[in-house]
C-alpha cells in the first residue's frame, strides 16, 4: 500500500504560488510570475498524473473494486463530536479523474496565457488568481467531506469572480463578475442549507460515511416530510441547487454567458472545463445517496439537465458572440452530464449513466477547452468577439482552423472522436431509462452539430471581412495547448471508462448500441449539413428562416428573456420592494419611534418647565399644599 499523503501537495503548490506571486508579484517582471505559476502547476500536474497512475493501475483496486482512499486528513474546525470539518484528500475514481482533468486544462491554460495575456496590465495578478483558482478547484475535488467541498466551492466562486472582473475598469466586466458571484452565492445558500439538513439527518459530513451503500447514513430520513418528499430528498435537492448554480443549470444559468467578459483563457479553464462541472461532480460525489435514498431527487436532476441542454442549444443557434455560443454550448453539454446522472442507477450496468456522465465530463473538458482556446486565438487575431466581424479566417489561422475543426467534429459526435463515445453512452443510458429525455437529447445532438458548425463556417469560411491588419496566427506558446488538446480530444474516447470510473467502483462491460449510435451520428451529420448549406457561403436562408419563426428567433436571440426576468425580480422586487422600504422603514419608523421618544420627553419637559416659574411663593404654595395633602393622606386615609 502506498502512502498517498503527498496528494495534499497537489493543491498546496498552487496556493503557495498564489501567495508568493500575490505578495511579491509587483517586485519583478510580470512574465516571471507567469513562469512561476506555470511551473507550480506543472508540478501539480505531474503529481496528479503520478497519483492517477498509482491509483488506477497499482493500488486503487482491492478485490476488483476501486476503494475510496483517504490520502491525508486533518481536523480543521470542530463543531460537535461527530460534526467536524476536516481538510484532506480523498482519492477515488472520480476525484483522481478530476485531478487529471483540472491539472491538464489548467496547465494548458497557464501555458496559453503566457502568450494570450502578454503585455496585459495585471499579468501577475492574473497568474496569482489563476493559481488560487487551481488550488480551490483541486481542493474541491479532493474534498473528504461535504463541508470541505463547500469551503472550496466558495473559494472557487471568489476566484471566478476575481477572474471575470479581471478587467476591472470595464463596467460590464465588473457587473458580470458580480452577477456570477451573486447568482452562484444564491445557489450556494441552497447548498449550505442542504448540507445542514443532511448533516442533521445523518450526523456526519464525511463522504465516506455518507456514501457507503451499506452504511447507516443512506437509511436515514426516508419518511415523507414536506410536500410528499422525504427530508433526505429535500436535502439533496437543496444541495443540487448549489450544484445547479455552479453548473449553470436552468434557471440559474444567467451568469454564465455574462461571465464571458473575463479573459478567454479564464473562460476556457473555469467556465468550460472545470468549475462549471463542479455541480456534476457534486451530484456524482453524492451519487450513492442520491440513487439509493432519494431517487426522486435524481429524477429531478435528470429533467433539469435535459431541459437545460435543450434550452441552451436553442439559444446557441442564434447568438453572434462566439464566446457566448460556446458558453451556451457548455451549458447544453453540462445538461447532458446531469441528465446522464439522472437516468443512472447504482451499481453494475445500471450505473451506465454515471459512467457516461463522467466520461463525457472528461472528453468535454478537453474539447471545450480546445474550443475556447481556439476562440481565444481567433479573438487574439481579430480583436473582436463578434461573429459578424469574422469570416474566411482559415487562410490566416491554419493551425487554429484545424484544431477548431477537430473540436467541432468532436462535439458534434462524429466517430471515432472522443465526443462520439461519451455522448453515445449517455444516449444509451437515456434510451434505456427514459425515452422522453432520450428524445430531447437526440434533438439536442442535432442542434449541437448545427450551431457548432454555424460558428465554424461563419468564422473560418464565408467572406473575408475588412480587417484593420491581416489576422496573424497565434504564437507557438498558444498553439501548443491547442495541438495538445486536439490530440486529447481525438484519443480520449478510447480510455476504458467502464472499467475505471463506475458508480460502485466495479468494472463492467458495455458494447456499442448501434441502434442508438447510428441515428445519433446521422442527426449530427444532418446538423452539420444544414450548417454547411446555410453558412458556408452567405445565403439568405437563415434570415428567411429567422423571419418566418420570428417569435422563436427573437426569444432565442434574447436568451428567452430570462435575464430580464431576473433583472425585474432583483431590481423591482428585491431592491424596490424590499430593500428600499426596509431602509425607509428603518430611518423613519424604527428610528422615528426612537426619535419620537426623545421628542415626547422634550415636549413634556417643555410643558412642565412652566411650573418652574421662579416665583418663590408659587413654590411655597405647592409645597405647603403638598405637605398638607400628603399628611392628610397618610394620617387619615392610610392611617399610619
Amino acid at each position: 500500500m502506498i502512502d498517498f499523503g503527498y496528494t495534499i501537495w497537489i493543491p498546496l503548490i498552487p496556493i503557495l504560488m498564489f501567495l508568493f506571486i500575490g505578495l511579491t508579484g509587483h517586485k519583478y517582471k510580470p512574465v516571471i510570475s507567469g513562469y512561476l505559476g506555470t511551473l507550480g502547476l506543472l508540478t501539480s500536474a505531474a503529481l496528479s498524473y503520478y497519483t492517477a497512475y498509482q491509483y488506477f493501475f497499482n493500488v486503487g483496486k482491492v478485490a476488483g473494486v476501486y476503494e475510496k482512499i483517504i490520502g491525508f486528513n486533518v481536523t480543521w474546525l470542530r463543531f460537535t463530536d461527530t460534526l467536524h470539518i476536516d481538510l484532506g484528500t480523498l482519492l477515488d475514481p472520480i476525484s483522481v479523474m478530476m485531478l487529471v482533468v483540472i491539472t491538464t486544462i489548467s496547465l494548458m491554460v497557464h501555458i496559453y496565457s503566457l502568450g494570450y495575456m502578454k503585455g496585459e496590465k495585471g499579468f501577475a495578478r492574473f497568474y496569482a488568481v489563476l493559481s488560487l483558482f487551481s488550488f480551490s478547484m483541486l481542493g474541491l475535488v479532493l474534498a473528504t467531506n461535504i463541508f470541505q467541498m463547500y469551503i472550496f466551492w466558495e473559494l472557487v466562486g471568489v476566484s471566478s469572480y476575481l477572474l471575470i472582473s479581471f478587467y476591472y475598469e470595464k463596467p460590464s466586466a465588473v457587473a458580470a463578475g458580480k452577477k456570477a458571484f451573486i447568482v452562484t452565492r444564491f445557489a450556494d445558500l441552497g447548498f449550505l442549507i442542504g448540507i445542514l439538513m443532511l448533516s442533521f439527518i445523518t450526523g456526519t459530513f464525511d463522504f465516506k460515511t455518507l456514501t457507503d451503500p451499506n452504511g447507516a447514513a443512506i437509511m436515514q430520513g426516508g419518511s415523507a416530510a414536506f410536500l410528499g418528499l422525504s427530508v433526505m430528498t429535500w436535502a439533496l435537492l437543496l444541495i443540487f441547487i448549489g450544484g445547479a448554480g455552479k453548473s449553470a443549470m436552468f434557471p440559474l444559468h444567467i451568469w454564465l454567458p455574462d461571465a464571458m467578459e473575463g479573459p478567454t483563457p479564464v473562460s476556457a479553464l473555469i467556465h468550460a472545463a472545470t468549475m462549471v462541472v463542479a455541480g456534476v461532480y457534486l451530484v456524482a460525489r453524492l451519487f450513492t445517496i442520491f440513487a439509493l435514498s432519494a431517487p426522486v431527487a435524481l429524477e429531478i436532476v435528470g429533467y433539469v439537465g435535459g431541459i437545460t441542454s435543450l434550452f441552451a442549444a436553442v439559444i446557441a443557434c442564434t447568438q453572434n458572440d462566439i464566446k457566448r455560443v460556446l458558453a451556451f454550448s457548455t451549458m447544453s453539454q453540462i445538461g447532458y452530464m446531469m441528465l446522464a446522472l439522472g437516468v443512472s442507477g447504482y451499481g453494475g450496468e445500471e450505473g451506465l449513466g454515471y459512467m457516461a456522465s463522467m466520461f463525457h465530463l472528461f472528453t468535454h473538458a478537453m474539447f471545450k477547452a480546445l474550443l475556447f482556446l481556439g476562440a481565444g486565438a481567433i479573438i487574439h487575431a481579430v480583436h473582436s468577439n463578434n461573429m459578424t466581424d469574422m469570416g474566411g479566417l482559415r487562410k490566416y489561422l491554419p493551425w487554429t482552423n484545424i484544431t477548431f475543426l477537430i473540436a467541432c467534429l468532436t462535439i458534434a459526435g462524429v466517430p471515432p472522436l472522443s465526443g462520439f463515445w461519451s455522448k453515445d453512452e449517455i444516449l444509451v443510458a437515456a434510451f434505456e431509462h427514459n425515452k422522453f429525455l432520450f428524445a430531447i437529447e437526440f434533438l439536442v445532438a442535432g442542434l449541437t452539430a448545427f450551431y457548432m458548425f454555424r460558428l465554424y463556417f461563419n468564422v473560418f469560411w464565408g467572406k473575408d471581412r475588412h480587417y484593420h491588419h491581416a489576422p496573424h496566427e497565434a504564437p507557438p506558446v498558444m498553439l501548443f495547448p491547442l495541438v495538445f488538446l486536439a490530440i486529447a480530444s481525438i484519443f480520449s474516447g478510447f480510455i476504458p471508462f467502464t472499467s475505471l470510473v463506475t458508480s460502485d467502483g466495479e468494472a463492467f462491460h458495455v458494447g456499442t448500441e448501434w441502434i442508438v449510435a447510428i441515428p445519433s451520428v446521422l442527426i449530427g451529420l444532418i446538423g452539420i449539413a444544414i450548417a454547411w448549406i446555410f453558412y458556408k457561403k452567405e445565403t439568405a436562408i437563415p434570415d428567411k428562416l429567422a423571419s418566418s419563426f420570428k417569435l422563436l428567433y427573437k426569444g432565442s436571440l434574447n436568451k428567452f428573456y430570462i435575464d430580464e426576468i431576473y433583472l425585474f425580480v432583483t431590481k423591482k422586487i428585491i431592491f424596490a420592494l424590499i430593500s428600499k422600504p426596509i431602509a425607509w422603514f428603518d430611518r423613519h419608523v424604527i428610528d422615528g419611534f426612537m426619535n419620537s421618544i426623545a421628542f415626547v420627553t422634550n415636549f413634556a419637559s417643555e410643558k412642565i418647565k412652566g411650573m418652574q416659574s421662579g416665583q418663590l411663593q408659587q413654590y411655597a404654595y405647592v409645597f405647603v399644599s403638598g405637605v398638607v395633602i400628603l399628611a392628610f393622606v397618610f394620617i387619615y386615609l392610610l392611617k399610619f
Partner: protein, 501 residues
C-alpha cells in the same frame, strides 16, 4: 500586582502619560507605546491562560482575585478570565492598538482625543475581566461615556445629534440593565443569606423562575441595545456615520461585543430557565436583525451606513446564536464576535482612510479607487470577502459554526429560523459586491482623485495587523474554537440543565 489588573493599569498609566505630553507628536508616541505594551500584555495573558490550562488548572476561571471595595452592598473587585474572556481581551488589545494608529492624523485636541479613546479601552478591558456584576457594570459605563465626547467633539456630519442619540439609547439600555442586575443581585441567594454580585456564585444557585421572567428580558434587552438588537439598533447607523475612524473601529469592533458578551455571560448564563421560555421572542428579533440589517445595507449610499447596517446584521447573528443555547452555536457566537470585531474594525479603518483622502463617503461619487490606491482597495476587498464569509477568512468560520450549531437544535422552529438567518449570506454578498463594484472597480469617476496617494506606513500597519488576525483565525480556527468550547462546557452544563427541549 496580578496580570489582569495590569490590563487596566497600563491604559490608565498611558492616560497619565498623555497628560504630561506637550504636542501632537508626543501624544501619539505615548499612546502608541502604551497600546503596544497593552497588546503584548493581552497576548501574554492569552499565553498564560494556555499555560495555566496546560498545567492542569480546570477551574472555570483562572487568575481570580477578589478585593472588597464596597462592603455594605458586598460589591467586590472580582476578576478572573476563562478562554472566552481571554480571546475577547486579545481582540480588544488588537483593536485599540490598531485604533491608535488609525487615528494617527488627529490634529485638534489630540491629547483629549487619545485620553478618551484609551479610557474607553480601559473600560472594555475592565468589563472583560470582571466577575462581579456591579464592577462589570461600572466598567461598562466607563466604556460608554467617553463615546459621547469622542463622537460629539471629533465626529463629522450631524455629530452632536448622533452622539446624543447614541449615548441616550445606550444609557436607556443601561437603565434597564441596572434594574436587571439589581434584580439578579437581590435574588442571588433565594435560600436566604448573604447576597452576592459574583457571577460564579450566582451561577451555583437557581434564581427563582418568577424573578427570571422579570429580569431576563431587562438584562437581555439592556445588553442587547449595545449589541444592536432590532429594534434598538438605530443608534448604530447614525453613531457610526458620525464617529471618527478609531471610535467607529473601537465601537463596532469591541463595544458592541460587550452587548453580546453580557447577554451571554449574564442573561443566558444566570437565567437559563427564562431564556428557555422567552428565547423565541428574542430569536425572532435577532433573526429579523440579521436579515433586516442586510437588506437595509443593500440600498445605502454612505459607506459607513452600509457598514453600520452590516454590523447590525452580523451582531444580530451573535445574539441569535447565543439564544440557540447549544455549545456549537455559542462557540460560533463568540467567534463571530471576534471575527466581526476584526473585520468591522478593518472596514471602518479603511473607510476612514478613504474618507480622509476623498472627503466623501458617498459611494456613487467615487469609483475606480483600485487604480488610484491599490493597497487600500485590495484591503477593502479582503475585508469585504471576510464579511461575506469567504472560507479562509474569519467570517466563514464563525458563521458556519453558528449555522451548523443552530441547525443541530432539536426544535423545528429553531431550524427554520436558522434557514432564514442563513439567507443573509446571499444579501451580504449583494451589498458587499455592490460597494466593491461601485467604489473600487470600474472607471475613475473623478479626475481629482487621481492625485491621491496610497496608504502611509501607519495605515499599512493598521490594516496589515487586522488582516493577519482575520486570516489567522480563518486559516487555523481550531485553537480558537477549542479554547472557546472548552470554556463553554460549564456554561452549557448549566444552561442545558434548564432546557425544555
Amino acid at each position: 500586582m496580578d496580570i489582569l489588573t495590569l490590563l487596566i493599569v497600563i491604559p490608565v498609566l498611558t492616560v497619565i502619560g498623555i497628560l504630561f505630553c506637550k504636542d501632537n507628536k508626543q501624544v501619539r508616541v505615548v499612546s502608541a507605546i502604551g497600546m503596544s505594551i497593552q497588546l503584548i500584555q493581552s497576548i501574554i495573558v492569552v499565553l498564560m491562560y494556555f499555560a495555566e490550562r496546560k498545567a492542569g488548572n480546570t477551574s472555570e476561571m483562572v487568575f481570580t482575585q477578589t478585593y472588597m471595595w464596597f462592603s455594605s452592598l458586598n460589591i467586590k473587585y472580582a476578576i478572573g478570565i476563562d478562554g472566552i474572556s481571554a480571546v475577547m481581551i486579545l481582540l480588544t488589545g488588537i483593536i485599540i492598538f490598531t485604533g491608535v494608529f488609525a487615528s494617527w492624523n488627529v490634529k485638534d485636541l489630540s491629547k483629549e482625543f487619545f485620553i478618551s479613546l484609551i479610557l474607553l479601552a480601559t473600560g472594555v478591558f475592565g468589563f472583560f475581566i470582571s466577575l462581579d456584576m456591579f464592577t462589570m457594570f461600572l466598567f461598562y459605563e466607563v466604556a460608554v461615556i467617553p463615546m459621547y465626547l469622542l463622537i460629539g467633539i471629533w465626529g463629522s456630519g450631524p455629530k452632536e445629534y448622533s452622539a446624543m442619540k447614541l449615548t441616550l439609547m445606550l444609557m436607556g439600555g443601561s437603565a434597564l440593565l441596572l434594574v436587571g442586575l439589581l434584580g439578579i443581585y437581590f435574588n442571588s441567594n433565594p435560600a436566604g443569606g448573604e447576597l452576592t454580585w459574583n457571577i460564579l456564585e450566582i451561577a451555583k444557585v437557581k434564581i427563582p423562575i418568577e424573578a427570571q421572567r422579570l429580569f431576563f428580558p431587562l438584562t437581555f434587552v439592556g445588553f442587547g441595545v449595545l449589541g444592536a438588537l432590532f429594534p434598538f439598533h438605530t443608534w448604530s447607523p447614525d453613531g457610526h456615520a458620525s464617529a471618527p475612524t478609531a471610535v467607529s473601529m473601537l465601537h463596532a469592533g469591541v463595544l458592541m461585543k460587550l452587548g453580546g458578551y453580557g447577554c451571554f455571560r449574564i442573561a443566558m448564563f444566570l437565567m437559563p430557565e427564562a431564556a428557555n421560555e422567552m428565547g423565541w421572542i428574542f430569536i425572532i428579533l435577532t433573526a429579523t436583525s440579521v436579515v433586516y440589517g442586510a437588506f437595509g445595507a443593500v440600498v445605502q449610499k454612505d459607506l459607513k451606513y452600509i457598514n453600520a447596517y452590516s454590523s447590525v446584521s452580523h451582531c444580530g447573528l451573535v445574539l441569535f446564536a447565543v439564544l440557540m443555547m447549544n455549545k456549537t452555536a455559542m462557540d460560533g457566537a463568540i467567534m463571530q464576535m471576534i471575527s466581526h470585531g476584526l473585520m468591522t474594525a478593518l472596514f471602518f479603518a479603511l473607510i476612514g482612510m478613504i474618507y480622509g483622502r476623498t472627503h466623501t463617503r458617498i459611494i456613487t461619487q467615487m469609483g475606480g479607487l483600485m487604480k488610484i490606491m491599490p493597497f487600500l482597495s485590495v484591503c477593502y476587498v479582503i475585508a469585504g470577502l471576510a464579511s461575506l464569509g469567504l472560507p479562509g477568512l474569519s467570517g466563514f468560520v464563525a458563521e458556519m459554526t453558528i449555522f451548523v450549531g443552530s441547525f443541530q437544535h432539536v426544535d423545528t422552529f429553531h431550524r427554520i429560523v436558522t434557514i432564514i438567518a442563513c439567507s443573509s449570506i446571499v444579501i451580504t454578498a449583494v451589498y458587499i459586491l455592490r460597494v466593491v463594484g461601485i467604489l473600487l472597480l470600474g472607471p475613475v469617476k473623478n479626475d481629482e482623485f487621481l492625485k491621491l496617494k496610497d496608504a502611509e506606513w501607519h495605515e499599512k500597519l493598521t490594516t496589515v495587523v487586522l488582516i493577519c488576525a482575520i486570516a489567522g483565525i480563518g486559516l487555523a480556527p481550531l485553537w480558537l474554537s477549542d479554547t472557546i468550547s472548552t470554556s463553554l462546557a460549564p456554561i452549557i452544563d448549566k444552561i442545558s440543565s434548564a432546557s425544555i427541549f
